[in-house]
């Protein structure tokens, strides 16, 4: 390769506390090439790029631009060395026009004249094949147009080295091809382009070379023309690490939660979940694997009743066969309805009919415990609020990924956080504090939560202890389905194992556990089956006892675009 070096990194290291985000990374970028940086979530791709663009400052190592060593302490410094980064989350002023956003902060000679700026922007856009009206306001723009503004903003400042952080995550296939055309044109113009991604097909389609990062380390840089998907996946996920998690075979697994053809759109009309179908069995742990933001959160939230879905069914099978009917859901009407449908028997397999009986007689009969369910109760959770779901007697627990945002109230103590689950119980007006306090003590005792007392605000506890409180509360509710999103994120090894053991215990007691995780080693060691989702669609269900990391890695990253097929 006869190209000139644009950027060199030597021994770049960055630590956040005890976590090493980047460990002595060496990387070269040439003029007129597209370099893809490939890696799993949390492998340090974005951190590395943030150090070139001035967001972070490296703890160790050197950066050279055109052979000269440089110090980049702020985005301003980065611009001085003609480096510009297009972040995943756009930094634009919504109220301004594209032109105003592009010129913002640029020091230019002469009088400020928006017209000449707009003309320059239009010229620049035409040069690289963008379509953009510089007078359009950002709030009127689509995601792809906003991205165009971001790219032009960087180009307008004269950047020669462009870093794009997952630029395709928010685009449609057509927009992606258009973006790639633009990138190729920039390459032809001599610019260096670094694109961060975890989509293999895009890497193969657009890049000249690929640098693979894994757990903060630079594994290799290969020429795209000399590699293939399988090789890249292998380098990306690495060798399997064995974890010592006691996994038992599922016993008496029975369907508990069935999701059928679930579709969900976000506010902007993008398809977040596409035709998701799966069944979770009681007594097993179903893992959900996928690149961050593939729809895991939305899936769990729609099951928990926090997101209204577009179409599809969420069926909960309440294990009620041959169990007495109760008034748990406090609705005589519903008991009567189910009775009329012939859902009950009287213990001798004789159908129960409440025809012609008075309400009090029905109540007496039901309360005597002689009225039994014929089959498992089928409850559709779709379009129900969490409160309605609970009202129907569905014991569904959800451990959200945002522990202190959605799970617990940070400024309240453990007791008060327990009460979030129980404040509706008991006589009206006054709260029952005794039971929640007993529960809080129990959780502290059993899960060894390290806290000064039950009234210490939970946000003062460490991440592991916060998670124990949250999981402990959800388990105390004796759920039939337990959903946990990234329950060990940010936890140390010991706390992680406590959580794994808790989940395993729940599984052994017949709970259907749904575990959303990011570490493939953990998923393979903990789960019984793994559901892989990719861009909101299920790409496969594998047996965790026999599957390999590469297999799952490929399912997570490979997207077959419709036009390719």
């Amino acid at each position: 390769m006869e190209k000139a070096l644009a950027l060199q990194m030597r021994g770049i290291t960055k630590r956040f506390g005890s976590v090493v985000a980047n460990d002595h990374v060496d990387l070269d970028v040439y003029r007129g090439e597209i370099l893809a940086i490939l890696g799993e979530n949390g492998c340090g791709k974005t951190t590395l790029m943030n150090m070139i663009s001035g967001i972070y400052f490296p703890d160790e190592g050197q950066i050279f631009v055109d052979g000269q060593e440089v110090v980049i302490r702020s985005p301003k410094d980065a611009f001085r060395h003609r480096i510009g980064m297009i972040h995943q989350h756009f930094k634009l002023v919504d109220l301004f026009t594209a032109g105003e956003n592009i010129v913002l902060g640029v020091k230019e000679e002469g009088r400020y004249n928006l017209k000449s700026v707009n003309a320059a922007v239009t010229k620049l856009a035409e040069k690289y094949g963008f379509h953009l009206d510089p007078q359009k306001k950002i709030y009127d723009m689509s995601v792809s147009e906003k991205q165009t503004v971001e790219i032009l903003k960087v180009l307008y400042r004269g950047a020669d080295i462009l870093i794009l952080d997952e630029p395709t995550a928010v685009l449609t296939p057509q927009e992606i091809s258009r973006l790639f055309d633009v990138l190729r044109r920039m390459k032809a113009d001599g610019k260096s382009i670094i694109i961060i991604t975890h989509k293999l097909n895009e890497v193969l389609e657009v890049s000249d070379r690929v640098a693979i990062l894994r757990k903060g380390e630079h594994i290799a840089t290969v020429n795209t023309s000399e590699t293939n998907e399988a090789q890249l996946t292998e380098m990306m996920v690495g060798k399997k690490v064995d974890l010592e998690i006691d996994r038992t075979m599922p016993v008496n697994a029975a369907p508990r939660l069935m999701v059928k053809n679930l579709n969900l759109d976000d506010n902007e009309g993008l398809h977040v979940l596409k035709d998701i179908s799966f069944t979770a069995y009681g007594g097993e742990i179903l893992g959900i694997a996928g690149i961050a933001g593939s729809g895991q959160r939305e899936l769990l939230e729609s099951i928990a009743g926090l997101q209204p879905v577009k179409s599809g069914e969420i069926i909960f099978l309440n294990p009620k066969k041959d169990k007495p009917v109760t008034f748990f859901h406090k609705s005589m009407k519903r008991v009567k309805e189910l009775g009329a449908q012939g859902a009950f028997h009287d213990g001798k397999m004789q159908p129960v009919s409440f025809d012609g009986m008075s309400t009090s007689a029905v109540r007496k009969w039901v309360e005597s415990g002689d009225v039994l369910f014929k089959e498992d109760e089928i409850i559709n959770l779709r379009d129900k609020t969490p409160l309605e779901i609970r009202g129907l007697g569905v014991r569904l627990s959800f451990v959200p990924e945002d522990r202190l945002g959605m799970g617990l109230v940070g400024s309240m103590g453990i007791t008060d956080n327990m009460m979030l689950r129980s404040y509706r119980k008991g006589p009206a007006m006054f709260l029952d504090r005794k039971k929640p306090r007993a529960l809080a003590d129990e959780i502290i005792e059993e899960l060894q939560v390290n806290t000064p007392g039950t009234n210490t605000p939970v946000r003062r506890l460490s991440g592991g202890n916060v998670q124990k409180v949250l999981v402990g509360r959800e388990i105390a509710f004796t759920p039939k389905v337990l959903m946990a999103a990234y329950p060990v994120r940010g936890l140390d090894i010991n706390s992680s194992y406590t959580i794994y053991n808790l989940l395993n215990k729940q599984k052994e007691s017949g709970v259907a556990v749904i575990f959303v995780g990011e570490d493939l080693d953990v998923l393979l060691a903990l789960c019984d089956r793994i559901l892989v989702i990719n861009s909101g669609a299920v790409t496969g269900v594998v047996d965790a006892r026999t599957a390999t990391k590469e297999e799952i890695g490929l399912l997570m990253t490979r997207t077959e675009r419709k036009e390719d097929a």
Partner: protein
């Protein structure tokens, strides 16, 4: 001249008080800071000016210089209040509403103490002729208009020009809309916030000076100044965060506020004393109406700056 034209000119002159107040507040709000200390700052602006006039009123300096020094003292005093506010809310990131309300309580109280010790004969009578140039000596309503009135209009128009036509204004608006974005492109967010708040406060303070010494020219004028501070903040909403709109807005406000006293002069409207306070309510009713209309129309340009009232800290991302 007919009564309605008199009324209009008087409303204009009266409205200049709000014009200063709300132009200052708009500049501050455009930087993302809701300064509820404006009533206190206007009071302190007035008090500072009076204090200076009292000190030099009898020194025999030319009237022009006396007035100029008075204005300078007013700007300095209110600018200082703005500096306290910005230090609290920008550097220390204290709650803007609480800080503003504290400054109002402080400013109003301190002004009352200062003003009760003032000798009105010195600061009101001396250079009075100067303020009313070029209409000094006229017997009709035009005598209300003077240098400081025209200055208010110039300040309002100039503020609009700077905000919407220059790069400084673009940067300032970016700071108020999305400080993180502004920071990322290398704009010194805190410097913009400080300068906008201090300049805005100084402008508002001049409103207090204008009202006490020029428009009312009376010892008791300071007693109602606080209310006009609040009106100025309401006027920001009426003007939809555009300084030049305060010229129209303040005239309407002045008109509505003083119509209770004018309306008694009109034969065919019967106004009892009890109705006066109700009429004085009108400016606020109009503000609520404007709020409702602008919310219903929901045009992005007519909404307050996006990060109004929020502190900015780079590491909170």
């Amino acid at each position: 001249m007919n009564i309605w034209l008199n009324f209009l000119i008087d409303s204009l002159a009266f409205g200049a008080t709000f014009m200063y107040g709300s132009t200052g507040e708009i500049l501050t709000e455009k930087a993302g800071h809701l300064n509820l200390g404006i009533p206190g700052i206007m009071c302190m602006g007035g008090a500072g000016g009076c204090l200076m006039l009292n000190l030099i009123g009898k020194s025999g300096l030319p009237p022009f210089l006396i007035v100029l020094l008075g204005i300078l003292a007013s700007l300095l005093m209110s600018g200082l209040m703005g500096l306290i506010y910005s230090f609290m809310t920008v550097t220390l990131r204290a709650n803007q509403n609480v800080t503003g309300l504290a400054l109002t309580t402080f400013g109003v109280g301190l002004m009352k103490v200062i003003m009760s010790k003032m000798d009105a004969t010195v600061y009101l009578v001396g250079p009075k002729m100067f303020y009313r140039w070029p209409f000094a000596g006229r017997q009709d309503a035009l005598q209300c208009l003077g240098v400081l009135f025209f200055l208010a209009i110039i300040v309002a128009v100039a503020s609009s020009y700077i905000l919407f036509k220059t790069k400084v204004g673009l940067h300032l608006r970016a700071v108020g809309e999305n400080p993180a974005t502004a920071d990322a492109v290398g704009i010194n967010v805190n410097r913009y916030k400080y300068v906008a708040t201090c300049v805005g406060s100084a402008i508002a303070g001049l409103g207090g000076f204008y009202y006490i010494i020029d428009y009312m020219a009376s010892q008791e004028a300071y007693l109602s100044l606080e209310a006009f501070g609040w009106l100025s903040i309401a006027l920001v909403i009426f003007a939809l965060w555009r300084p030049h709109m305060t010229i129209i807005g303040s005239t309407v406000f002045g008109f509505l506020f003083s119509c209770s006293s004018y309306i008694t002069n009109i034969d065919w409207i019967h106004v009892t004393m009890a109705m006066k306070p109700i009429l004085k309510m009108l400016p606020y009713v109009v503000t609520i109406l404007v709020l409702i209309i602008s919310s219903v129309r929901n045009k992005r340009e007519n909404q307050p700056p996006s990060s109004l009232g929020l502190s900015y800290f780079r590491e909170d991302r």
